[in-house]
């Protein structure tokens, strides 16, 4: 964090402050001056300035200068946010910006600091990756002006403490990311992606606007402190919760609002795809936690139903899409949908426990969700960067035209493998830890009294288990088709390893996957100030447990130690290998593949992505895609070819989006007449609207 901020408002804040910020404090938030917050705001301001700087600098210098600077600022942002998280600092500042009589309220607490850490770290590795990746960018000036401001906007969403600033930052985030999606608008499909994204994003903001309106009430207090104090009415709060779920869920990708995500995330340049999938969806989750857990106050049990049910459905449906997808980047985007579902499932459980008064269980659920947020940010960024490197090396995103890259791109292959193992929730990597914690949470839930939850929670647990197994299937397919086997196209056969910056960024993320998996206790401990802030209680400290194992409730009930598992696996594997090598014949010979005696030279005889997915789509596809397989065999003795045809439809797209679009179009045609009224009619319309609003206001009060 001792990095000077490069451009613009470079402030170096008191060193003494930074020293004690690193100290570990477990108590209530430490309310101090605004030193750390102003440093963070300095970082945000410099990121905002780096946008225009990208245009001002000469074309050849721009990429080479902007990405390293962005990486530095993001590193400063992330590490100081981590210090704030560990210290549990609480800082407030009101800047005389924005709406005159409100000002811009900014607030730093443990919740904001956690998400800022994720943003800072994610931005850092993405920029590092981009140093190498963006060298091949044909139009850097379509990306650079929006890249750093996009990160700044995400950080501002997290720091905002009034509705206006929040929504402004939220919209900036949407617009900058939209511009990045449209960077290559000339490619087929990208225009549609941008259009769908714009529609869903504006709908989401509109819904959030309504939610804040309800929260502010008739007094119109838009800063979060006043909202928190003015307890919202129960039924109204339920409405707010639904609106917030729709508003943030549309950005995060909850089913059925996920449709834009697999279109838009892959359309952007790969480092931006990683940021959008890995980090921006987390900002949406932040929005949900801030409003539903912090601003709305103590929940009632049925509030937990929407996030729980939607989360569980999202987790499974997202993966079903991912399993049949042939485009590597779209597959990753669908898998993001799944992971968002898992996080919301955990948040729903946390709300249910909180309403029932089971504080420790709520803390466990929230910890599991937030850990999954951090884990997903690491491995999804890693996988998107890997997909970007594959794209960089081969120009292909279609799994059916890849294959055999493990020989041509050895480093990328190893790092991508770590990412796939982590996202498939395999021990001893990090994905397993958060899923394990979620399973532990589900197992404590018979405590919950409401009957509906007694049926729904085990069902959600089953969905979670199904999602974990499907994820492994999905990523065996993705990795096997892209990196293993024989190359299916000349581009894949001629691929070359990517440059050192891209490998460095991926290696950092892979190391993070391993560290978070092996030492989860430290991550759980880092979340303690956050739990205390949001729930008023924490989990027992994990760092003092013997061998750094993870014991959330009690040692007899269940514990997990990734470190021991890793050590045992390494010992068992190496000792077996050494023993076999001493006992065994060392001779090894390379020969043509055996393949039951009928090896075929053509790589087209390999299993294709579609054939690999066929058994899975046969079993699960009928539910999600309304698939129908027909086999036409020639008559006995006939010499014609047999034909296999597969029909599949995206039900959500057809049933929901298409019909919605029809309805909107019909209404719009009707309302078209309003554009051709006389001035008298317009004036009477305005007058009627005014009267209606005044009446509504009078009734509400």
């Amino acid at each position: 964090m001792d990095v000077p901020t490069p451009a613009g408002a470079s402030r170096r804040i008191g060193k003494a402050e930074r020293g004690d910020a690193c100290g570990y404090d477990d108590g209530e938030g430490v309310r101090t001056g605004v030193t750390l917050l102003s440093f963070l705001l300095g970082c945000v301001a410099s990121l905002l300035l780096l946008g225009p700087a990208g245009v001002a600098l000469p074309r050849r210098l721009a990429s080479a200068a902007i990405y390293p600077l962005t990486a530095l600022v993001c590193a400063a942002l992330g590490s100081s946010a981590l210090a704030a998280l560990l210290a549990g600092r609480v800082e407030d500042v009101v800047l005389p910006l924005g709406v005159p009589w409100i000002g811009a309220h900014l607030h730093l607490d443990a919740l904001a600091a956690f998400f800022l850490t994720v943003i800072g770290f994610g931005g850092f590795v993405a920029s590092l990756y981009a140093i190498g990746y963006a060298r091949h960018e044909e139009e850097p000036r379509r990306v650079l002006p929006f890249y750093a401001p996009f990160i700044a906007a995400m950080a501002l969403v997290v720091l905002a403490a009034d509705a206006f600033t929040f929504l402004l930052a939220w919209e900036t985030m949407s617009v900058t990311s939209w511009a990045l999606v449209m960077a290559h608008h000339e490619r087929p499909g990208n225009l549609l992606a941008g259009h769908v994204y714009l529609v869903v994003a504006s709908m989401g903001t509109l819904v959030l606007l309504l939610a804040f309106g309800l929260l502010a009430g008739t007094h119109g207090h838009y800063d979060f402190t006043s909202i928190r104090l003015a307890a919202t009415h129960r039924t109204l709060a339920w409405l707010v919760l639904l609106l917030v779920l729709v508003g943030t869920g549309s950005k995060a990708g909850l089913v059925p609002l996920h449709a834009w995500l697999p279109l838009a995330h892959p359309a952007a340049p790969s480092h931006v795809s990683g940021l959008m999938s890995g980090i921006m969806t987390k900002v949406a989750i932040y929005g949900f936690i801030r409003i539903a857990f912090d601003l709305l106050g103590a929940p009632v049990w049925w509030w937990s139903l929407p996030p729980l049910v939607v989360g569980a459905l999202t987790a499974v449906i997202g993966l079903l899409y991912a399993i049949v997808e042939n485009d590597l980047k779209r597959l990753l985007a669908y898998s993001t949908v799944e992971n968002i579902g898992i996080v919301f499932l955990g948040l729903g459980l946390a709300m249910a426990f909180r309403s029932g008064g089971f504080e420790t269980a709520a803390a466990l659920a929230l910890t599991a969700s937030l850990l999954h947020v951090a884990n997903h940010a690491t491995f999804k960024s890693l996988l998107f960067f890997g997909a970007g490197s594959v794209l960089d090396a081969t120009g292909e995103r279609d799994l059916g035209r890849l294959g055999g890259l493990i020989h041509r791109m050895p480093a990328t292959a190893v790092l991508f493998l770590i990412g796939t193992a982590a996202i498939s929730a395999l021990p001893p990597l990090n994905g397993f830890v958060s899923e394990w914690l979620l399973f532990q949470t589900v197992l404590t839930s018979p405590l919950l009294a409401p009957w509906l939850l007694k049926f729904l929670v085990p069902a959600a647990g089953a969905m979670l288990a199904l999602a974990a197994a499907l994820a492994a299937a999905c990523f065996v397919r993705a990795y096997g088709m892209a990196f293993l086997g024989r190359p299916r196209s000349p581009q894949a056969a001629g691929a070359n390893e990517v440059d050192v910056w891209q490998r460095l960024a991926m290696a950092l993320l892979a190391a993070a996957c391993l560290l978070l998996g092996v030492l989860p206790g430290l991550a759980v401990d880092a979340l303690r100030p956050l739990l205390r802030l949001v729930l008023g209680t924490t989990l027992p400290r994990q760092a003092t447990e013997a061998w750094l194992s993870l014991i959330p409730l009690s040692a007899r009930a269940g514990s997990y130690n990734g470190l021991i598992v890793l050590v045992f696996m390494v010992l068992a594997g190496t000792s077996a290998a050494l023993l076999v090598r001493t006992v065994a014949a060392r001779r090894m010979r390379r020969a043509p593949a055996w393949d039951c005696g009928f090896p075929t030279a053509s790589p087209t005889t390999q299993y294709t992505p579609a054939s690999f997915a066929q058994p899975l789509s046969h079993v699960f596809g009928a539910m999600a895609f309304d698939t129908a397989e027909t086999v036409a065999m020639p008559p006995p003795g006939g010499l014609g070819p047999a034909r296999f045809s597969l029909r599949s439809r995206d039900r959500i797209w057809e049933l929901l989006y298409r019909r919605l679009a029809l309805v909107v179009e019909r209404i719009a045609t009707r309302l078209n007449r309003l554009q051709f009224l006389t001035i008298r009619k317009y004036l009477s319309l305005v007058f009627a609207a005014l009267v209606l609003l005044l009446v509504l206001l009078a009734l509400w009060q």
């Binding site: 288990a465 009930a557 997990y560 090894m588 079993v619």
Partner: protein, 316 residues
């Protein structure tokens, strides 16, 4: 102080040594049921030794993953098998991984086995891997629902605690446990590629799954994979024995005699499990591949039903 660690070490070696013997016993029992004399019970040891001593042939385009995977699969399976209580509970490292983590370790082994099947780029490897992940996609959730039910009974996911809790005389016969036993047997058959899901004794059959994935392996690599397969069979029989016949398990700090009794009981459980498996394999025919999801779907539903029963029964 060192005592418990010795017991842990003994357990690790025991599962490794006993696994081929168990497979040999199953093969022998099957042969006798088919009125064949069958090979010696010790034949699997000889097979493994023979494979290890032979020259290893690998395909020309095999990558490092193909060569590393056998050791990884073996390590993950061995660690998982060593963490299931066999003759004693509360071993010093038992808390490092609970039942969920054991399921996770087996998933790790399967993940790398499927990848190894895809590495050479042959159609048989693809068919095996594709079917393996389809079976796992149903079997793993079913297994986790079984874990949920057991964990809800014992208020723990720790296997030693589960064994202890289910060993109490107060438990008796319960509907949810009966459902789970059936489900666990179905999952165990599928996971170990036994009849009726897969046939361990055949090659060159279009319906094969596990053998298709390991078709390209030879020599010491094949030996490691075979040993891992044997360990997995031992793991599932130990698991069923520990959870549903939780008798004769030595407690922590018990006298040596208790450990000896534990060993004896464990040997009896393994033998019984092996013979029952041989009988069921001789009595049932193999099913078509696309019937397998229905077969495992039954296990999933049974596990889910048992979990639901416990959820509903708990708080009322």
């Amino acid at each position: 102080m060192i005592g418990p660690y010795i017991v842990q070490g003994v357990q690790m070696c025991l599962v490794l040594v006993a696994a081929p013997l168990l497979t040999g016993l199953v093969r022998k029992a099957k042969a006798r049921l088919q009125r064949r004399r069958g090979a010696d019970v010790l034949q699997p040891y000889r097979d493994l030794l023979r494979l290890i001593r032979k020259e290893t042939v690998i395909a020309e385009n095999a990558s490092w993953l193909f060569r590393v995977a056998p050791y990884l699969i073996f390590a993950a399976t061995w660690v998982a098998a060593a963490l299931v209580p066999t003759f004693a509970t509360f071993l010093p490292f038992s808390w490092a991984a609970d039942l969920i983590a054991i399921v996770g370790l087996l998933a790790t082994a399967r993940f790398f086995l499927s990848l190894a099947g895809l590495d050479i780029g042959t159609s048989f490897g693809g068919i095996g891997a594709s079917r393996e992940v389809m079976i796992a996609a149903v079997a793993e959730p079913a297994m986790l629902m079984i874990v949920f039910t057991l964990a809800l009974h014992a208020h723990a996911t720790q296997l030693s605690t589960i064994a202890q809790a289910l060993g109490l005389p107060a438990v008796g016969v319960q509907v949810s446990l009966a459902l789970v036993l059936v489900a666990l047997i179905l999952v165990a058959l599928a996971e170990n590629a036994r009849i009726p899901v897969d046939n361990p004794a055949t090659h060159l059959e279009l319906t094969m799954v596990h053998e298709a994935m390991v078709l390209e392996y030879s020599g010491r690599h094949l030996a490691m994979i075979e040993l891992a397969t044997m360990l997995k069979l031992l793991l599932y029989i130990s698991l069923i024995g520990t959870v549903f016949v939780p008798f004769g398990l030595a407690r922590q700090g018990a006298p040596i005699a208790a450990y000896a009794w534990g060993m004896l009981f464990y040997a009896a459980k393994l033998a019984a499990g092996g013979v029952l498996l041989a009988i069921s394999e001789s009595a049932i025919a193999k099913m078509r591949v696309f019937r397998v999801p229905q077969f495992l779907g039954a296990a999933l539903m049974l596990g889910f039903l048992a979990t639901l029963l416990l959820f509903v029964a708990r708080g009322s």
